[in-house]
Homo-oligomer: 376 residues x 2
Amino acid sequence: MSVLSNIVISARVRRSPYFAATQRYGCKAYSVYNHMYMPLYYQSPEADYWNLVNGVTLWDVAVERQVEIVGPDAARFVQLLSPRDLSSCAVGQCKYLMMTDEKGGILNDPLLLKLAEDRYWLSLADSDVLFWAKGVAYFGNYDVEVFEPDVSPLQLQGPLAAMVGEALFGSALNDLKYFRFGEFELAGMPLIVSRTGWSGERGYEIYLQNSDDGDRLWETIMEAGSPHGIAPATPSAIRRIEGGLLSYGADMNLDNNPYEMNLGRLVDLEQEADFIGKAALKRIKEEGIRQRLVGLTVEGGPAVVPSLERAAITLDDRPAGRITSAVYSPSLEQTIALALVPVEHVTEGSVLTVQTDAVPLEATVSPLPFISKKTV
Amino acid sequence: MSVLSNIVISARVRRSPYFAATQRYGCKAYSVYNHMYMPLYYQSPEADYWNLVNGVTLWDVAVERQVEIVGPDAARFVQLLSPRDLSSCAVGQCKYLMMTDEKGGILNDPLLLKLAEDRYWLSLADSDVLFWAKGVAYFGNYDVEVFEPDVSPLQLQGPLAAMVGEALFGSALNDLKYFRFGEFELAGMPLIVSRTGWSGERGYEIYLQNSDDGDRLWETIMEAGSPHGIAPATPSAIRRIEGGLLSYGADMNLDNNPYEMNLGRLVDLEQEADFIGKAALKRIKEEGIRQRLVGLTVEGGPAVVPSLERAAITLDDRPAGRITSAVYSPSLEQTIALALVPVEHVTEGSVLTVQTDAVPLEATVSPLPFISKKTV
């Protein structure tokens, strides 16, 4: 995160059902994600971060659009779209997935929710998976419907999220295991609540199913959270990089494969079922990858972060990859980054050089995550 | 266009090869389009507009990402993706297309460039057509490659564009007919130049094929345009609404079909070839549409425009559609809008009411375009 510019709110970009609330609560900056405005920060990225790691925060993540896949062949079709073996996935379970194309390139890294034996949601990162899934289904011989339902998630994240969750949904919410979801009701609003999130903290995602109720849901949660000091916040670039969580578009895209992202565990080549990319990923695994995502600690404080955007890395004046994400961690009091680096240079402790427009900076390969998850 | 907010430049969103130039030339606001930063204005939307309609302007439209389709079955595959009969499309010709899904819903409205008998570019509006085309090709029996090439367009638009074009490319450019393109070279850079654009003015699109040359191409054009008072500008919401040009995401999306957009001329149901959506569009044509895009003049000056964003329309207190785009036209000294209105209310001169958060506003159905094209 670096340069601040202006964005003009226009009718082309969709507003979230919580957009008015985010304005009322003082959201200061937005980006665009899945063709919708995505709140970026309220007080400041740093102040929002401290609210997240010390208390409890509410995020408008309606940009996590859902693709619903429903019908007799839904399970088979969802498996086709994902390298991960889903044969043991139970109703009520969430799975983090890579979606790959025929070359093993990453199309998205959604969260899958299995709503019923014949009904699934893909909760998306920033790409039009609806187009991909509809396209594949066009000539595919699968009895499925593929569409975007009226579903708009919020995230309730932070160490005090469990207390706010209990205040809202009762003690039943405490029984929800990590990466499981349930159906709940709040003031007449039917909701799906999953114990998941993009923070590394304890937290929940709350899926509203009627966009007319956006303001009411937001305020109901804020009221229940008020005794616990709840604050509005957003997906935190700081906390997610500390936690080694990936951002589609920054750390990976169609040119990358899951092995490069250290996510070979999400590719089950031995399963019986076919999936798109299987042959390519098998070949990539056999031949070995050339680059890999690593953590870097970088010299210099917050002021150097803007200069790190997609910066080139060198070793002995030869190309050695590039930065994919960078941020200053107030907890570690250290600039940290994710980078794609040739495999021969990924040894922990290796010292590389980041080429910025100003001075070159020293960077050290570090274990990921920088700070462990506290979700469980 | 209304509320100004901040956008934080982050590594997730791609920068155009011209991004540094747009910053240097004082671009004040960006949006995000096809996962890239899109410049929104320099001096002000109004000042940029006058530069466009009175002189010549250069726009960074690298956000118009290309999908390249190449291979023995390219022509057949491109036809499959479009309701428009492309059988007579010649090499060197551009076609404005609707792309539809199996229900006749609009996926994108790209410009097609036929580069060779077996090679095409789709120059895109804001949606991941790459995912759609790759998805359809997965089970489709077509011998094609589908990918995003390294191509980044600029637009040179305005009544003086021809003079700058001639200064750059010589008089050969004047022979280029409307919706035709040719191969040109500039300071060693191979370029495709088409006589097209999104302004209603005379103009060209210039397709750079090496993103390392962004800055050099920008400056070369600026230098040639300098004697003609060239100014940096952006796709003008004012000029495109005046001209009745559509914006994907604002005026139409997957829920709309080409007939609702008054673009039945782009749907050739009688052609022999099959295309995706043919059966659905045939049915829609037979049954008739329920709503249609119309022009509206709206009472009140520039100050009312923000309140018109996606505003509901009524007639005798009953729902009568909604605004899709609105702007104040300095040329007409009139607030103008595009709106989706039930077909029974689209008679020219009909007076409708726009419901805003403040007072209701009177709106009159008007012929489109508000101002004719000057392209030819």
